[in-house]
């Protein structure tokens, strides 16, 4: 009896998996089809005529894809570094110390996480244009970091809270300063949390569209989300190339997902529920 119901569950799980991941399958298959096949009625669920041309074209002839990839890499890594460096000490401070501003500061980060980008976009645009930062990597980098910081602080704080106080105290008895115990004890213990938040800061920055299309108009500087958006505006129905472009654009995220899934799930649920 038990065995039977278990089989039923596996079947349901599999069915959900198939339906849910169908769009990704479709993206991949479309990138391998010829345009004729894409618009055939009915279009085949698996290409009869495999073609790598869309991929090759994206990766060689049109420089957009690889350039966009490089630009996004620079911007997202930059945003990740800024966000992580600022979030670690802040999360530590908000987890380990008692002070009057503590609660308002936690609230402050919670609220900043909820604000829409459109709210700060115009003012940031004016600010960056005065500073001469438009059409540079710095502008989206600085703006994208604001997406990662509050989230990172909220998640890392729960990590620091869960580390037993005794560890701190033992370090102090051994003559460690606050900073010393932070660097030598807390950082190594909180490493899984730091990895998760860094990864998320990267993913947020990598996925950003609005800052990228607003602050950068120079086609050679565009991040990949912005270049694929512009590509579609130009080549409306060239779906196989667009999907090949899309696959390149999601590659880093998919790799991160495959290799770090365990970290991500635990980190996320920690932060989101106990925020």
């Amino acid at each position: 009896m038990k065995q039977k119901s278990n089989k039923g569950l596996i079947f349901i799980g599999l069915a959900i998996f198939v339906v849910f991941l169908f769009p990704l399958y479709w993206m991949f298959v479309t990138a391998l089809k010829t345009q004729t096949e894409i618009f055939a009625i009915p279009t085949p669920l698996w290409p009869r005529e495999l073609t790598w041309e869309p991929f090759l074209e994206q990766l060689s002839v049109s420089g957009d894809t690889l350039r966009g990839f490089k630009n996004s890499m620079i911007i997202a890594v930059g945003a990740m570094v800024i966000s992580t460096i600022l979030a670690i000490p802040a999360a530590y401070g908000l987890a380990r110390f008692r002070f009057r501003l503590k609660k308002p500061l936690i609230l402050f980060f919670l609220i900043t996480q909820m604000l829409p980008s459109t709210l700060v976009l115009t003012s940031l645009y004016i600010m960056f244009s005065r500073l001469g930062l438009l059409n540079s990597y710095i502008a989206p980098m600085l703006a994208d970091a604001t997406l990662g910081i509050p989230f990172s602080i909220i998640i890392l704080r729960t990590y620091f809270i869960s580390i037993p106080k005794e560890l701190d105290e033992a370090a102090k008895i051994d003559g460690c300063s606050h900073l010393g115990s932070f660097v030598r004890i807390m950082l190594p213990v909180a490493k899984p949390g730091i990895i998760v938040t860094a990864v998320f800061s990267f993913v947020y920055a990598w996925g950003d569209l609005i800052y990228g299309i607003t602050f950068i108009t120079d086609p050679t500087m565009r991040p990949i989300t912005s270049s694929i958006y512009n590509y579609v505006q130009q080549y409306q129905t060239l779906w196989n190339s667009t999907m090949a472009f899309g696959i390149v654009a999601i590659m880093p995220v998919v790799l991160i997902f495959i290799f770090m899934q365990k970290y991500i799930v635990s980190g996320l649920t920690n932060g989101a529920v106990k925020a």
Partner: protein, 291 residues
């Protein structure tokens, strides 16, 4: 000491979020547009003029975009929640492949929304779109539907795309909520002869109410400010039928260069989010006090 650790991040957020936000509120009361943008001496305060102009008139696009945003948000959350809850209940049971299937369904949440939007734009395309093909093959429709070119169906299409993106978030948070329910409660209940539905409504849902509430309010806030998905799929069209407050604010500022009006529209968005946000924060505080 704690403040010193937190300060760099606080200052950063004040400079790049706090200050621009204040500027945006002020900008909403001014007359900055394409003519006065580079002439500070011509910029002046105009009171509530921008807001009046945005809200009045038979065809106020702002009013329409607020309604659209509400429909979009409620439609998305309703299905995300139901499906996410169903999946959380399913994956809470032990079976082979459980963690693999659960893990795999998370990917949609991590993808760059721009790419997900384009993918759905393609699947909903009038010609060559797989959605039309499936519906035709199942004999549910006779002729292809112009999903993204008709007002009602365009709204349905962007909601479906957004549901796909949001399900993992709902599922994950609810799964965590479910793992906090002790097994013994169910055991004592099954002795009492309660059936599955009674257990769901009398134990499971009340026990994870805090998780449910935070999923719903956070979901509301995140969905209400969605921009990229809609910008990529429909750009707010056809004829503003999928125009959200965020896309409208963006259009005003960066396509029509009416910066002050765009700022005012964004401020309206902020006020709505603030109200819901306060509700969420009160919820968290209540929970912390209860613990």
């Amino acid at each position: 000491m704690g403040v010193a650790f937190a300060m760099p991040a606080v200052i950063y957020m004040l400079v790049f979020i706090g200050y621009p936000m204040l500027q945006n509120i002020i900008l909403g009361f001014k007359n900055v547009d394409v003519f006065t943008f580079s002439k500070p001496d011509m910029q002046e305060f105009v009171g509530l003029k921008n807001y009046m102009e945005l809200f009045t008139g038979k065809n106020s696009i702002l009013t329409k975009s607020i309604t659209n945003t509400l429909i979009f948000t409620i439609g998305s959350i309703f299905f995300q929640f139901i499906i996410g809850f169903g999946l959380a209940l399913l994956f809470n049971k032990k079976f082979k492949g459980n963690s693999f299937f659960r893990g795999a369904t998370m990917i949609s949440w991590l993808l760059p929304v721009t790419v997900a939007g384009l993918l759905f734009k393609f699947m909903f395309a009038s010609t060559g779109g797989i959605v039309n093909q499936f519906l035709t093959q199942l004999h549910l429709i006779d002729a292809p539907i112009d999903w993204l070119l008709e007002p009602h169906t365009a709204m349905i299409a962007i909601i479906i795309a957004n549901i796909w993106i949001g399900i993992p978030f709902n599922m994950m948070l609810l799964t965590t909520g479910l793992t906090t329910i002790p097994e013994e409660i169910y055991e004592s209940c099954s002795l009492d002869g309660a059936n599955r539905f009674q257990r769901l409504f009398q134990i499971t849902i009340p026990m994870i109410k805090p998780a449910i509430m935070s999923v719903l309010t956070l979901g509301f806030v995140y969905t209400f400010k969605v921009f990229d998905l809609v910008w990529v799929m429909t750009k707010g069209g056809p004829v503003n039928s999928t125009e959200l407050v965020s896309t409208y604010a963006y259009r005003l500022s960066f396509e029509e260069f009416q910066f002050s009006k765009g700022a005012a529209a964004a401020n309206v968005l902020m006020i709505i989010l603030m109200v819901v946000g306060c509700f969420y924060i009160k919820l968290i505080n209540d929970e912390e006090e209860a613990m």
